[in-house]
C-alpha cells in the first residue's frame, strides 16, 4: 500500500514563493482534491510532489523518501498528468500511451507484448481506443486530454497526481474521466491527488478537499467544511450560491449579479454571505 506524503514543501521561482510551506498527506485509496484560485500554487505543489521542480521539504512515497527511491522507481509509483502536456504532433495516440510503460522498462529495453496490451487497454478504458492509430496533432482537445490520461493509467502507478484533468472536456467526458479515476481508486487503491477548478465536481468526488491560497493551506477537510462563503471569497471575489442537490451533495453555483446590486470584488461576497 503506497500513499504519498509531503512536509514543509516550498517552491520558489526567481525568489518569488509559489508554495510557501505545505504539509499534505494522501493515504492509499484516498482521493484528495486541491482547490484554490489561480496562482495559489496548485500546479507548483503537484510538480514538487512529482519531483519535476526544485523544492524544499520532504516527499515520501510509501514511506520512503523520493531521493532514496531514485527517478525510475519513483516513476513507477507516481504518475503525473500535467496541465499543459507536450504532445508531439506526429506521434500516434498508441505510441504516446505506450510511453507510460517507460518506468517499467530497462534503460535500453524495448516494450513487450504485455506492455502493448496494457497501453491499448488504457485507451479502451478512456473510451479512446478508436484514436489509437491517429497522430496527436489530428486530435481534438478533449481527445487529447483522454489520451494523456490513458498514458497515466498505463503507467500503472500507486499514486496519481492530476493537474486539471477535465479542463477541455465536455460535461459527459468530465464525468467519465472522474468516474474512471474513481474506479481505478477502488480497484487498485490508488492514492489520488488532483487539482480541479470545478468546485462542484471537486465536492462530489473528493474524500477530502484542500484549499490553497497564496501558496499555503487555508482549509482542509470535507467539502462542506471547506467550501464556505468565507473561503470562497478567496476565489477572486466570486459570487456563488451554495445549494444542496437531491442526494445531499453540495453544489456550488455561480450567481449572476442582480440589477442594482453593488459592483465590486468584495461586495459580492458579502452579498452572497447574507443569503
Amino acid at each position: 500500500m503506497t500513499g504519498i506524503s509531503a512536509r514543509g514543501i516550498e517552491v520558489r521561482y526567481n525568489g518569488r514563493p509559489a508554495v510557501a510551506g505545505v504539509d499534505l498527506e494522501v493515504a492509499p485509496g484516498e482521493w484528495v482534491v486541491l482547490v484554490g484560485p489561480n496562482g495559489s500554487g496548485k500546479t507548483s505543489l503537484l510538480r514538487a510532489l512529482a519531483g519535476t521542480v526544485a523544492a524544499v521539504g520532504e516527499v515520501e512515497i510509501g514511506g520512503r523518501s523520493r531521493g532514496i527511491l531514485g527517478r525510475r522507481r519513483a516513476a513507477r509509483l507516481v504518475a503525473l498528468v500535467p496541465q499543459d502536456p507536450v504532445l508531439p504532433g506526429g506521434m500516434t495516440a498508441a505510441e504516446y500511451v505506450l510511453l507510460g510503460r517507460t518506468p517499467h522498462l530497462g534503460y535500453w529495453a524495448a516494450e513487450g507484448a504485455a506492455d502493448r496490451r496494457m497501453a491499448l487497454a488504457a485507451l479502451e478504458r478512456l473510451d479512446a481506443a478508436s484514436l489509437a492509430g491517429r497522430p496527436l496533432g489530428a486530435l481534438s482537445g478533449g481527445e487529447r486530454q483522454r489520451v494523456v490520461l490513458a498514458r497515466a493509467v498505463a503507467q500503472d502507478s500507486a499514486v496519481l497526481l492530476l493537474d486539471e484533468p477535465t479542463a477541455s472536456l465536455d460535461i459527459g467526458h468530465q464525468q467519465q474521466v472522474l468516474d474512471l479515476v474513481e474506479g481505478l481508486r477502488q480497484e487498485r487503491s490508488i492514492a489520488v491527488l488532483g487539482a480541479l477548478h470545478d468546485l462542484t465536481l471537486a465536492a462530489q468526488y473528493a474524500d477530502r478537499l484542500v484549499l490553497l491560497a497564496r501558496g499555503r493551506v487555508v482549509a482542509e477537510g470535507p467539502a462542506a467544511a471547506v467550501l464556505t462563503p468565507e473561503h470562497l471569497s478567496l476565489f477572486s471575489g466570486a459570487r456563488v450560491v451554495l445549494l444542496s442537490g437531491p442526494g445531499g451533495e453540495l453544489v456550488v453555483a455561480p450567481r449572476r449579479e442582480a440589477p442594482g446590486e453593488e459592483r465590486g470584488w468584495g461586495a459580492s461576497a458579502r452579498a452572497g454571505a447574507e443569503e
Binding site: 507536450v86 489509437a132 496533432g137
Partner: protein
C-alpha cells in the same frame, strides 16, 4: 484490432528498401568512376576475391588497383561517414527537440576547423597529425560547450547547451580566422580541407574511422526508444523515470565521437546530418525507432551517391564533396518547408 498495428517500427519493407538503395548505390560506385571500366570485368574482379573462386577479370594491374585501392575504400569510407553523420544528426534532433539540429551543433565544426588549421599551419596538409588535431579540436569544443553550459546555469537544459555551443563555435572560428590570417599561404589548403574530400583516402583511413563510427552508431541506435520518450519534453520525461540530462550527455558523447572521427578523416561535410533524418521523417514518420535505423542506411547511401557525383561530374577533376551535399541540401530544404506546413511537426 491488431494490437501491434498502431505501433510503428521499422517494418521489413522499410528496411529492405533502405538496404536495397544502399547496395544499389554501392554497386554503382564501384562500377562508375573517372576511368571507364567494363562492368563485366569489374564484377569478375570482385567475384575473384571470394574464397574458393578464381576468375580472370582481364583487368590490368593498375585497373585492379583502381578498384581495390581507390574506389572500394572510398565507398566504404563514404558509407561510414554518411551513416555516422546521419545518425548523429537524427539523435541530436531528438535529444534537443529541434528540427534544425545537426551533428555540428555544439561547436564540433568550429573545433575541428581550428584543430585542422593549427595542424596544417604547423606541419603541412599532408601531415598525419592533421586528422588527429581535427579530432582533438572537435572533442575539445564539445567539452568546452558542456562546461560553459553548466556554468551558465539552467541545469544544462537543451537550450542552454545550444547557446553555449554557439558561443564556443564563434570563439573557435575567430581564433581560426586569426591564425589563418597570420599564415596566408596555407589558406588554400585549409579551405580545401574544410570543404571536405574523400579523394586521397585508402584502407588506412577506413581503419581509423571504423571503430569510432561503429561505436557511435551502435550507441545511438540503442537510444532510439529513449529519444521517443524525450519527445514529450524534459519535465514529463522525468515523471516517466527518464533523466533527460543523462540521456543527453550519453547521446552527445556518442554522437561527438562519431562526428569527430568522420570530420577528422573527411573534412567538414555538411547537410548529411540535417537532410537525411528529415527525408526519413517525411517518408516514414516521426518515431525515432524508425528514423534512426533508416537514417543510418540512408545517410550511407546518400554520401556514397554524393561521392560518386564528386568524382564523375567534372572528371578527372574532383568536386569537393561538401559542395555536392550543399547543392542537394539547399533545394531539399525548400521542399521540406513546403511540406511541413501541412504536417504535425516533429
Amino acid at each position: 484490432m491488431n494490437p501491434e498495428k498502431p505501433l510503428r517500427r521499422v517494418g521489413p519493407t522499410g528496411l529492405a528498401v533502405a538496404l536495397g538503395l544502399l547496395i544499389a548505390v554501392l554497386v554503382g560506385g564501384v562500377l562508375v568512376g573517372a576511368v571507364g571500366l567494363a562492368p563485366g570485368r569489374v564484377l569478375a574482379e570482385l567475384v575473384d576475391r571470394l574464397p574458393w573462386v578464381s576468375v580472370d577479370s582481364g583487368l590490368s594491374r593498375q585497373e585492379a588497383a583502381i578498384i581495390w585501392d581507390l574506389r572500394l575504400p572510398r565507398l566504404v569510407l563514404a558509407a561510414l561517414v554518411g551513416a555516422t553523420l546521419a545518425a548523429a544528426g537524427a539523435a541530436y534532433q531528438g535529444v534537443f527537440r529541434n528540427p534544425l539540429a545537426d551533428p555540428y551543433l555544439l561547436g564540433v565544426a568550429a573545433g575541428a576547423g581550428l584543430g585542422a588549421t593549427l595542424g596544417i599551419v604547423s606541419a603541412g596538409a599532408a601531415s598525419p597529425i592533421v586528422p588527429g588535431a581535427a579530432f582533438a579540436g572537435a572533442v575539445g569544443a564539445v567539452l568546452l560547450t558542456y562546461a560553459l553550459g553548466g556554468v551558465a546555469g539552467g541545469g544544462r537544459a537543451g537550450t542552454t547547451l545550444i547557446l553555449a555551443g554557439v558561443a564556443v563555435a564563434a570563439f573557435f572560428t575567430a581564433v581560426q580566422t586569426f591564425v589563418q590570417q597570420r599564415h596566408a599561404d596555407t589558406v588554400r589548403e585549409v579551405y580545401s580541407w574544410i570543404l571536405g574530400r574523400l579523394s586521397t583516402v585508402g584502407w588506412t583511413e577506413v581503419g581509423l574511422l571504423a571503430p569510432y563510427a561503429v561505436v557511435s552508431v551502435v550507441l545511438l541506435l540503442l537510444h532510439r526508444r529513449l529519444l521517443d520518450v524525450l519527445a514529450v519534453g524534459e519535465e514529463e520525461a522525468e515523471t516517466l523515470g527518464v533523466g533527460a540530462a543523462r540521456v543527453r550527455l550519453v547521446v552527445v558523447l556518442a554522437a561527438t565521437l562519431g562526428t569527430a572521427g568522420a570530420v577528422a578523416v573527411g573534412g567538414l561535410i555538411g547537410f548529411v546530418g540535417l537532410v537525411v533524418p528529415h527525408a526519413v521523417r517525411l517518408l516514414a514518420g516521426t518515431s525515432y525507432r524508425v528514423i534512426l535505423p533508416l537514417s543510418v542506411l540512408g545517410g550511407a547511401a546518400f554520401l556514397v551517391a554524393a561521392d560518386l557525383g564528386a568524382r564523375t561530374i567534372l572528371a578527372p577533376a574532383e568536386i569537393p564533396i561538401g559542395v555536392i551535399t550543399a547543392f542537394v541540401g539547399g533545394p531539399f530544404f525548400a521542399v521540406v518547408l513546403r511540406t511541413s506546413r501541412r504536417g504535425w511537426g516533429p
